[in-house]
Symmetry: C2
């Protein structure tokens, strides 16, 4: 174990700590290894996929202060693969290592209410929303926002988990009761045409680089396909999406890769067309296309950003159109066909068990413009 200080220069040979051991951590670790970095992964699950590609790992819970301190001491810089870690965890890490993105960025983006307040505070629109802690709050919120509306837990939601739509005639109080007292938020319905997202990076020097906005198609609340460039997205709206991502990154004094999910609604062009749905303070599933589809992958870019190195080129590889397809649950059993499919690029995450709804891998296809896949 070595002693770490925030001012230590991050150079090849240094140790990058990653909190979280899933596929995102695994792909960050692979990118880091390419630069000769050593990777230390911290996760509570002994079966974490990222452990298999890391020089070191710690199996411990996110509230084990001693393990967190020892982990951070062993790292030159620490980053995250997911945002749902307790504030106390981030605080302990930050006492012992350079942590990027910051605990403040995590705090802001791990709570839907705080995040929406923050985004609106920048003059950037979101869906209308109300905090909901009690049945009375919910009643008042439904009166204000109408039905249908979406009730979500403020924290820990992903892939449609922790959210329910409340429609005309639904027993709203019963739905709220299903959340067992977790602090919630009610979001008004936005009649959006589609979801687009911007994956972008910002360095400690303020350098900023965004990938082109992509279109995301969900099935059963889980990302199924990402396409880039987003088909038919007008240039003014695309530019506005990047401007929004940059404004958010700068307001957070963000260091690392983040994703901003936006709804494109019918109406005026440009920024007026866009509503922020969610911010992910990390590499994001909608950026997986970049591994083959862009000159610098989002994982490589995350490593560059958190190490304080120059950001890489975000242009698409050879000007190709790119499609990313998630392999959910049993879909990963299609691997023999996907391996045989011409220039498809298959990625599998090394997860032992293919449960329904579980992200097992993805495949990226580079498609010459003017052709169809």
């Amino acid at each position: 174990m070595t002693t770490s200080t925030p001012s230590r220069q991050i150079r090849p040979g240094a140790t990058l700590g990653i909190v979280g051991g899933g596929q995102l951590g695994r792909m960050i670790a692979l990118a880091a290894a390419n630069y000769g970095l050593k990777v230390h992964v911290y996760a509570p699950d002994a079966d974490s996929p990222a452990f298999d590609v890391a020089a070191a790992h710690t199996v411990a819970s996110y509230d084990d202060a001693a393990a967190l301190a020892a982990f951070a001491d062993a790292c030159d810089v620490v980053t995250y693969e997911f945002e749902n870690i307790p504030h106390a965890t981030a605080a302990i890490l930050a006492e012992h290592a350079t942590v990027r993105p910051s605990a403040h960025a995590l705090l802001t983006t791990q709570d839907r209410l705080v995040e929406k307040d923050f985004v609106n505070g920048l003059g950037i629109p979101t869906a209308p929303y109300r905090a909901v802690d009690t049945a009375e709050d919910l009643e008042a919120a439904l009166d204000a926002l109408g039905r249908p509306a979406i009730l979500k837990t403020r924290r820990f939601g992903y892939d449609g988990k922790g959210q329910r739509t409340i429609r005309a005639g639904d027993d709203a109080a019963a739905i709220l009761a299903d959340f067992c007292g977790a602090p919630c938020i009610l979001e008004g319905f936005v009649p959006f045409r589609r979801e687009v997202s911007v994956v972008a990076a910002r360095g400690p020097d303020g350098a900023f680089a965004a990938y082109e906005p992509c279109e995301n198609e969900h099935r059963d609340h889980i990302l199924a396909f990402t396409r880039v460039p987003a088909p038919g997205l007008d240039p003014a709206t695309a530019a506005a999406a990047e401007t929004i991502a940059r404004a958010i990154a700068e307001a957070l004094d963000y260091v690392g890769v983040l994703a901003v999910e936006l709804f494109e609604i019918e109406g005026a062009a440009g920024a007026a067309r866009l509503v922020v749905n969610e911010i992910a303070p990390r590499v994001h599933n909608s950026g997986h296309w970049t591994t083959e589809g862009a000159l610098t992958s989002q994982f490589t870019q995350a490593v560059r950003a958190v190490c304080g190195w120059p950001l890489g080129d975000t242009a698409r590889t050879g000007g190709m159109n790119v499609e990313m397809e998630n392999l959910i649950g049993d879909a990963a059993e299609r691997w023999p066909a996907l391996l045989a499919e011409g220039s498809a690029h298959l990625h599998l995450y090394g997860k032992a068990e293919a449960r329904p709804g579980r992200k097992m891998g993805h495949v990226t296809r580079l498609i010459p413009p003017g052709t169809t896949p």
Copy 2:
């Protein structure tokens, strides 16, 4: 530990064993992880760079029969990152696991004399050569082949190690004595214009896929630059080079990636222009350009081949010209400039110490045709 049988299907989640823990093993491991394979690396050096990206590793010597057997038992398929392992080692591994490429392919290519006999036996030219075990052998060989000629150890040579040029006036016997009795070969001088190489893969079903021939530029006997396509290589010669690589792969019943180094000599076009210098039964430094420069990297291709999966597309990415530059010794200290260089792709191998002549990393540049880097 699991029990392994040669018939076991290799599928994602299986364990790929890699013998050797250097940068080649490391890059194979990274490619394997991308397919959800677990990697187990066997190497004698506890500091092996490949250990840092492998799910498991064994530190043991290449003559530790018990460790070799246990390693192979834990693997579904075993491959190599280098060819200089004893025959007994390969035999033990093959008793306990599917080994690809085969022990026969290793035996044939790890000894310069056996290799040249094999290549000539296919009707493919090499430099003229004679076996040299004694000073008398050397005298006779020099008489037959003339000076200058190159004296090489039959085994264990790389990057110019284990070879000496014998020029007019040199004390040949003294040079031979420096090799301390190791079996040698004398190679006649070939007035070649340049070295090209073909990196190719063959699957257990006989499928074959070659990358375009590349040009290799050496400095101090170490590969310095690879360029693809080889500038000015005429199409007939390029096709002949691929035909030679295929003939060699088929004659060895080869499974995996191999590289065939060829000298291009002045003279008639096509096959007559080519002389085989050396066969490497593994991924090869002259194939490093493929990681970004081709649709399938040589490391990914090696994984596909040894797992018995369909071979990937070897076309260049977006039709770009590609240059690979090795970072030898202190050259890796240029990493900050290389990270800042537009679309250069930097790779560092995670080696702790930068000794002179040691390969520390490489950088790949994709260059639009018609421009200069």
